[in-house]
């Protein structure tokens, strides 16, 4: 057999004969090599060990994974604290994000048990495509919109919406992206009454979801924003700014719906959380945090 086709490691060792300067001098690599290899191995093995432990523990077995719209960022933790008192057996883990994105991920069978959307269309479509439990659709809240400015802003949201938004000092107006964020669609609808939209379209900046939109204004990057009341009421936002609610007649009712995911690993947990959201206690918290009760509670 030709020596040249021996195992690569043999080649490595032999290379020192041919190029001694390169291979034997930098002792750093000789010492670092085994170190790196050990590190890599421990990483891999420890990682595996950790994963199996996780899935085997009883806590993880009763985990409820929730995909929630960004406007629930503040109300949901409060609700979950109460839910935990009643159902200590469930460990709820929440991922907040844009409803459209999460709908796409659930349609690819993302491992969520319950989906709390910022609208009712996304859950409906998930049921249609077979990714939501057919009779589990439930409206749980109605979203409200506000005009929000920082405390030191020259703009006064107490004036009419037209006056406030047409003010040249409102150079950047933040709304959520109407292509996929329900709050963005509602904002555009509110602006389209009285043809306001055309006049300010070039001053709009679009947030990926409503939480990011709120942040645009709170950070001062935008002069004014159309955001969820649920976010404007959050401590950090309400301390930093003023807001004025946009009358509900100006945009289609923003019913927020939820659905139990068809491939849910923990349908019982999802069911329990759904029931709690719709209970008097859950609804009270949602109202405290700036939502209205949906007309037809299931």
């Amino acid at each position: 057999m030709n020596v040249s086709f021996s195992f690569p490691f043999a080649c490595f060792r032999r290379s020192s004969v041919f190029i001694p300067a390169l291979w034997s001098r930098p002792r750093l690599f000789q010492t670092l090599g085994p170190l790196l290899a050990t590190l890599a191995l421990s990483f891999l093995t420890l990682g595996c060990g950790k994963g199996t432990k996780d899935s085997a523990s009883p806590v993880a077995a009763n985990a409820v994974t929730v995909a929630a719209a960004a406007d629930l960022q503040f109300a949901l933790p409060e609700i979950l604290a109460l839910f935990h008192q009643e159902h200590p057996e469930f460990q709820v883990r929440v991922t907040y994000g844009s409803s459209g994105n999460m709908r796409a991920q659930i349609a690819q069978r993302a491992p969520f048990d319950l989906f709390l959307s910022a609208d009712i269309e996304f859950p409906k479509r998930l049921i249609e495509s077979g990714h939501g439990v057919a009779d589990s659709l439930f409206p749980y809240a109605v979203g409200r919109l506000v005009l929000y400015v920082l405390n030191d802003s020259p703009l006064d949201p107490e004036r009419t919406m037209e006056q406030t938004l047409l003010d040249p000092r409102a150079r950047r107006i933040a709304i959520a992206n109407p292509r996929h964020a329900p709050y963005g669609q509602a904002a555009v609808a509110a602006l389209q009454t009285d043809d306001l939209y055309e006049q300010i379209a070039d001053r709009l900046v679009l947030g990926e979801n409503i939480a990011q939109t709120a942040q645009f204004v709170q950070s001062g990057a935008a002069d004014i924003g159309i955001i969820a009341l649920a976010l404007a009421l959050a401590p950090r936002m309400s301390e930093a700014g003023r807001f004025w609610e946009i009358p509900l007649e100006r945009f289609p009712e923003m019913v927020q719906g939820g659905v139990i995911v068809r491939h849910a690993k923990n349908p019982e947990g999802a069911e329990a959380l759904r029931a709690f959201l719709l209970s008097a206690e859950g609804q009270r918290v949602l109202q405290d945090f700036g939502f209205l009760m949906p007309e037809a509670l299931p």
């Binding site: 690569p8 041919f18 190029i19 300067a21 390169l22 994974t65 883990r93 690819q108 993302a110 491992p111």
Partner: protein, 227 residues
């Protein structure tokens, strides 16, 4: 109150290391071939490898999600074999990371191999060393600085990637929530203190990795020049 997500740090470090190791296995032969081949179509391969550099991460993430999802041939084959889904899992993240970090490994590898004097390689082959020994005994040792740079850049890039990871991983705590996504979460929750400290920590780690590498590279190159 600052609540740094250490689980995310651990997960990200593991992801970055595994990704870089896999990229050595895939990237070295690929870069070697690209550096040595006379095949004209190689430019297409090179462009394809560099594509993640210019593609928006969300576009890449969307494609990877569709490519790995349960309704794609690859995704359904994996599900049949492993019994679990590829997206929204750690193995899925590894595949996505390997794809989007590919140019960060292959480009430095390639420039490392291109900097090697071809006469040395030709001499090695003509003296009967064969292709594989030439690669390991001549190519790799001479291209070391570039290979190290590729390893470290792909590692550092995986540490910080956001768009693809969000799209393919789905932001699930302990499974696919990396540091950059945990920072995004903190910002969304307006927990700026946590976001700030986590970001600072990530910055320090990334900078240290780069500084360490460039120090090694410099020392190594000098040794080489002296002899």
């Amino acid at each position: 109150m600052i609540t740094i997500d250490w689980q995310a740090f651990w997960l990200t470090a593991r992801l970055a290391l595994i990704t870089s190791l896999i990229l050595i296995l895939i990237g070295l032969p690929l870069a070697w071939w690209l550096a040595r081949t006379r095949f004209r179509g190689a430019v297409f391969v090179e462009a394809l490898v560099a594509l993640p550099l210019v593609l928006p991460p969300t576009v890449l993430g969307f494609y990877v999600l569709m490519f790995l999802g349960p309704y794609s041939p690859l995704g359904s084959a994996y599900e049949a074999l492993a019994g679990t889904l590829l997206p929204f899992s750690f193995p899925g993240l590894v595949i996505a990371s390997v794809l989007f970090s590919l140019p960060f490994a292959v480009q430095p590898f390639l420039s490392g191999f291109r900097s090697v004097d071809t006469r040395l390689l030709d001499a090695s082959v003509s003296l009967g060393a064969g292709r594989l020994p030439t690669f390991f005994r001549v190519g790799v040792p001479l291209a070391w600085p570039g290979l190290l740079a590729g390893f470290v850049l792909s590692f550092a890039h995986t540490l910080g990637e956001f768009g693809v990871v969000l799209m393919v991983g789905g932001n699930i705590a302990g499974k696919t929530r990396t540091i950059s996504i945990s920072i995004y979460d903190s910002v969304q929750a307006m927990d700026y203190a946590t976001a700030g400290w986590t970001s600072a920590l990530l910055l320090v780690i990334s900078a240290s990795v780069l500084i360490l590498t460039y120090t090694l590279q410099r020392r190594y190159t000098k040794t080489w020049l002296r002899t």
